[in-house]
Symmetry: C2
Subunit: 563 residues, 2 copies
């Protein structure tokens, strides 16, 4: 049995290793177009930034070690240029010529290639992607070589990591992003804090902007942006996304869709005895049903293993899970993470959802180092299932997103989160963990005990409602919505008549700092017959969602009197 | 509607707060025997140790704030001394006399009292429990007053936290524990590393030892231990466990079992309109079915909320979940945590289980700060469900235990862990997270792809098998099992005949450092017809499970030649 694997990183190498564990006798050949296999692709930005100091550490495995430990035949600098699925044979360009390699089973793990925007000058030698060990070595060389200015094109995960890495090395760094915010999969209320953190690190963040032209210069290139400004930089990182290169597969008659390989639930392509895995394949979103490639290392690694099972013991192989797209990024002191669907994807798919916002401490408030986890959870408005979640904060973010990713995979309803027995001691959590609190909040919304209003609907709410601000005097001094009625929540029970007069028949929309006191106030109002709702996540979420506009929307309290 | 709640901490106060949110009109009275309500009982050791500096921070709420925010009538120093469930009336001793208080609904949240061993001298004024704010203030006073020597009686969670707190303040501290290890719910392979960490902190740990006698002295008491030694100490913390004080409830005819109040799935006692919550109630273990009180803040807080639901909107109230007993402790630089059943509980319940041990890094190995998470997972040998898990390490332990607690609650099988989309970037995890790896290991065991042998069975294995040590030369220099055959795993494929000769028909039991290479070796051997198995968790688990005996069992490699 000869198993040939094209692509020796992530999914491909996982398939190879698993195949050997299952079958000592198989011949296993791994072909890779690059110099290295099984390298730490997710570690490259940290090497550029000097946080990982040993380039050898990026090489998780070498062909020699894979040979001695797992008896794998690993061939680097081998580029597959053709497949004949009828005779089961590959055409491969090697360092010494072109050769044919037959297979009994074939795993395609070719990855994806960087998108190169159609911009004059994009082929400047100062423009470099960050996809391979060679890329990282070259960029690191320019960093230590004294580059003064850098520009990163694209503020996705790799672009943001690259920008931070360069800025941390003292390089004046500009981050250019076509869309309106960095990290497009994030909700606005999480993306804006990331932008602020990038700015704190000294990075010039230009969203809603594209590069129009790159002109070579003596020491630096000059980039002209869509806003008309120009920037010079000696180091340009191209991180505008990736796209599978499926031409050779399509020529071989393997079914593709939107430029990615279509596979069944076992990773099988349309061709017999040909499987595919990773960035080049289409996945179905388990929440929205959307079909798109998921370019993440985790799902690829795990799918590679399952594909080896399907090749070597098909009768018991489990199906590949539909990836949730859980992702995480460290930006300065912040962590931002997401799992499942975001609001835009839910809206696009027409899935009715409640969106919860909360800001609990990551551990007991009385224990040193307490810090808020800013959490968004989307809940199916019908059956209460958790559809997606996002969070940012300085500590405890990864844990909560992982618990929520587990809960989503388990098909849990939001109120199931109440019952989770999470590990509590003061340095680690709260007796009511942020996850439990999200469950309680969600249950209150599903049962109608709590009605929420959303920062996204601010304009309409201001037009039609009395906004009741139940924060303390000291808190409102930091900025208020003009026209809001201010009444600390502890006074509400005694001042309901004032609220009734001010509302004059309009609904009352309550707000506080984080949504806790406004929820209490809502209960008082609702039980007194008011049409009431509580601002989801309070001013903390409102400010983050408004982003740079927050300081014009929330004004000095004196203005409130004149509204 | 008058709701009376007896006990204003954790479950009681959660019930009170929830009740108010549901019902503005109810009269809600909270009685507490102590000076303070809703205090940070889990924070007390950290105040004693000076990590929490402001005693005010321990008071999460005050009666005044609870009145103004939630309109609760909180009465401290009120001790319930009788219940008449027929006329629905309590007899209460107050600071000014005895009074009767009627109720429409009653919630009992009395907590538990410290166990006081029947030891001469236990009533010495130098002996103090650590259950209340007053206890913490008194102990802190003695710490800052210059106590030189301390003894902590009982190495459960509070005892260990107290011992660390005292040692960190420079006090010579002895920790005495009746059973053979600290933190009895932990498996030996997790308890021993905790002991070593306590020793590193300078604590004199005496397990398998009890206090026989306490004799008062001028500046210090003298304690005589069961091993005949004596210790003097100016400060003695009694942390030998807790027991509910149910006498008053039993007198009132409320059904109790093994000294704790019996409730149904909604927290209802045997008496009409009387509910109970927290340390004084019996819970059923969801894994083993064992019935015992669970003295943890988290389940109590959440159960209190559900009880308020059952009182005020019984038609939609959800049942109380059966608590898994998830717990966590910080000891020096270590974290140790557990969820679900441990091995002893599974054995006692007669539940057949596989036990997995693994030691993956908490994040990418090439990223700075990589550290192992030492993980034990119990899996049902029949249906593959996850039954329990424990872990220790310096980072990432709480996250993995929380994910596993969520998976157990969801009823997941161990192989479902493979599919979890956990958040991966190099600072946070691995493309194959420790949790995914546990799933892969478990699947391999369930399908027979991997056979394990356990450190607990070392003696029998040594008698009947060839032990094959596949570590490198450098590794075996740190200690080997006499009689083992040493052969680095990468040489195994070429030296199978040597193994066959040495085995002479016996089974081959493979071992390496952590269980990864021995699993690869097992696959090679099994596919070559050997009766083979891999040491679960390798030498890392073996050493931890052997504890102080490890250095006599694993000896200098020269000895191997003579075996």
């Amino acid at each position: 049995m000869r198993l040939v694997i094209v692509g020796g990183v992530a999914g491909g190498m996982s398939a190879a290793a698993r195949a050997r564990r299952l079958d000592e006798t198989a011949e296993i050949i791994v072909l890779d177009r690059g110099e290295h296999v099984s390298f730490a692709n997710c570690g490259l930005p940290y090497y550029v930034g000097g946080e990982i100091t040993d380039p050898g550490a990026l090489l998780v495995q070498t062909p020699e070690r894979l040979r001695s430990s797992l008896n794998l035949d690993v061939r680097t600098r081998h580029v597959m240029i053709g497949i004949d699925t009828d005779v089961r044979e590959l055409t491969v360009r090697t360092p010494v010529g072109v050769e044919q390699i037959g297979y009994d089973a074939l795993v395609l793990s070719p990855g994806a290639a960087a998108v190169r925007p159609d911009v004059p000058g994009i082929d400047s030698p100062r423009v470099r992607t960050l996809r391979t060990v060679d890329d990282a070595l070259a960029l690191r060389g320019r960093v230590t070589g004294g580059a003064a200015r850098a520009i990163v094109i694209g503020a996705g995960f790799i672009g943001v990591e690259a920008a931070e890495a360069l800025a941390q090395q003292g390089i004046a760094t500009t981050l250019v992003q076509r869309s309106a915010q960095v990290l497009p999969p994030l909700e606005a209320e999480h993306a804006w804090p990331v932008t602020r953190e990038l700015q704190r690190l000294g990075i010039d963040v230009r969203t809603g902007t594209t590069v129009q032209r790159i002109e070579p210069g003596m020491d630096e290139d000059t980039l002209t942006l869509s806003d008309g400004t120009t920037i010079t930089a000696g180091l340009i990182v191209l991180a505008a996304g990736v796209r599978p290169d499926t031409e050779v597969f399509e020529q071989a008659g393997i079914t593709c869709e939107n430029g990615a390989i279509v596979t069944d639930e076992h990773g099988r392509t349309s061709a017999p005895r040909v499987w595919a895995v990773g960035d080049a394949t289409v996945s179905t979103d388990p929440i929205t049903g959307a079909r798109r490639p998921v370019t993440l290392a985790g799902p690829a690694n795990r799918a590679g293993r399952l594909i080896a099972d399907d090749i070597l013991r098909p009768e018991t192989a489990r199906p590949l899970p539909r990836p949730l797209g859980t992702a995480i990024i460290r930006v300065g002191d912040l962590t931002a993470a997401l799992t499942g669907a975001n609001r835009g994807e839910l809206d696009h798919a027409g899935i009715p959802a409640h969106t919860l916002h909360l800001h609990p401490n990551q551990h007991a408030g009385y224990f040193p180092g307490a810090a808020q986890v800013h959490l968004t959870v989307h809940v199916h408005a019908g059956d209460g299932r958790i559809l997606g979640a996002q969070a940012h904060g300085t500590d405890g973010v990864d844990k909560r997103i992982d618990v929520l990713a587990t809960a989503i995979r388990a098909g849990m309803r939001v109120d199931d989160l109440i019952d989770l027995d999470l590990a509590y001691a003061p340095p680690y959590g709260q007796a009511k963990d942020p996850i439990n609190l999200a469950g309680m909040l969600g249950e209150n919304v599903l049962t109608g005990t709590l009605a929420l209003w959303d920062a996204r609907d601010l304009e309409g709410v201001r037009e039609r409602s009395l906004i009741l601000d139940v924060r303390t005097d000291a808190e409102v001094a930091t900025g208020v919505l003009p026209g809001a009625l201010h009444m600390p929540h502890i006074e509400l029970r005694d001042r309901l008549d004032e609220v009734r007069d001010a509302a004059a028949g309009r609904p009352v929309r309550v707000m506080c700092a984080s949504g806790v006191r406004s929820a209490i106030a809502h209960r008082v109002l609702a039980q007194s017959g008011f049409d009431s709702a509580s601002l989801s996540g309070g001013v903390l979420t409102l400010r983050a969602a408004l982003g740079p506009d927050a300081d014009t929307v929330l004004v000095a309290p004196g203005v409130m009197q004149h509204a």
